[in-house]
């Protein structure tokens, strides 16, 4: 399929965004983004959300006593298996 990348409508460009964002090309360098303020703003928002997720929602350490609980549960299961 041939498609004029310079003459995409916003709907056509946005339909391609999932692939563009994950692809090798920088979505911000796409000709449509260069010329469309609305889609440029949309892309900026999506980048902001992804970056906010990395910055604001880091991995969380479980409480120290969780391993003890898991160990006890494993022991209980092992005892049940031995008896069963």
């Amino acid at each position: 399929m041939t498609e004029d990348r310079n003459n995409l409508s916003c709907a056509e460009f946005q339909a391609q965004m999932p692939d563009l964002i994950g692809g090798g090309e920088k979505a911000s360098e796409h000709p449509h983004v260069q010329n469309c303020e609305l889609c440029r703003a949309l892309l900026a928002d999506l980048e902001t959300i992804a970056e906010a997720a990395r910055q604001l929602l880091p991995p969380v350490e479980p409480p120290d006593n969780l391993w003890k609980q898991i160990e006890l549960a494993i022991k209980d299961e092992d005892v049940s298996l031995d008896q069963g």
Binding site: I21, A50, L66
Partner: protein, 223 residues
């Protein structure tokens, strides 16, 4: 059973992440397992409790974080993490290395989370259904005024609330990709879906989050 009350602390798998502005396609993958990991895994499969404790130390933060982001509640997240590692203990001997161990463990944990959501009466029954939200749940075309963007307008509580309100399938992809840093090919392997499906679901999740965050920050979305 040998004492293993103090499994050693692993390094933060995301600690190498650069903290500057990062283009969307540059997410960071989890670390590649090395031969020590393989040895630990083999010993755990053979019933070595110390090795199992080491596996817990290596993977606990990611599994707990996944559970926490999916249910938004620390008590439930602890229960689900415990259940995931109990299931791991039961099933670890069946791991054959067809995928990375981390991928296999995440898939197991995801199933534990989805079963929990089903028991709570939420409309999630299987991975397939989680990955295929009802059409009416999909976001519409979202444009927004270019002079009212989100830059600098997102705070942690608003983001946590918005993530918590996503349909489970969208939330799962967003957590795995944008929070945990998995690549689409790894997510596709975890969820038995196509890479295209993973990309599409992530994009829809981000669009829904955008709408929610704009609404919570007082920015109107023009449609």
């Amino acid at each position: 059973m040998p004492d293993s009350s103090s499994p050693t602390q692993p390094s933060d798998p995301r600690s190498d992440r650069p903290r500057g502005v990062m283009p969307l396609q540059a997410s960071i993958s989890p670390p590649v397992p090395n031969s020590n990991d393989d040895d630990t895994l083999a010993r755990a499969q053979g019933g070595d409790h110390q090795a199992f404790a080491q596996l817990y130390s290596v993977h606990k933060r990611r599994i707990y974080s996944l559970c926490l982001r999916m249910v938004g509640n620390t008590a439930e997240a602890e229960d689900l993490t415990q259940e995931a590692f109990l299931q791991l203990h039961r099933k670890i001997a069946t791991f054959r290395g067809d995928s990375a161990f981390s991928t296999w463990l995440h898939r197991l944990a995801i199933n534990v989370v989805l079963m929990h959501l089903r028991r709570k009466g939420l409309a999630v029954i299987s991975l397939d259904e989680a990955m295929d939200p009802a059409p009416e749940e999909g976001p519409g075309r979202s444009f927004g005024s270019p002079d009212l963007n989100l830059t600098g307008a997102i705070d942690r509580l608003a983001l946590e609330r918005a993530v918590g309100e996503l349909p489970a399938g969208y939330r799962l992809i967003f957590v795995l990709h944008d929070i945990e840093g998995y690549e689409h090919n790894e997510i596709a392997s975890m969820l038995d879906c196509s890479i295209g499906n993973s990309k599409s679901q992530l994009h829809k999740a981000r669009l829904k989050l955008r709408d929610a965050l704009r609404a919570s920050s007082g920015l109107e979305t023009q449609k």
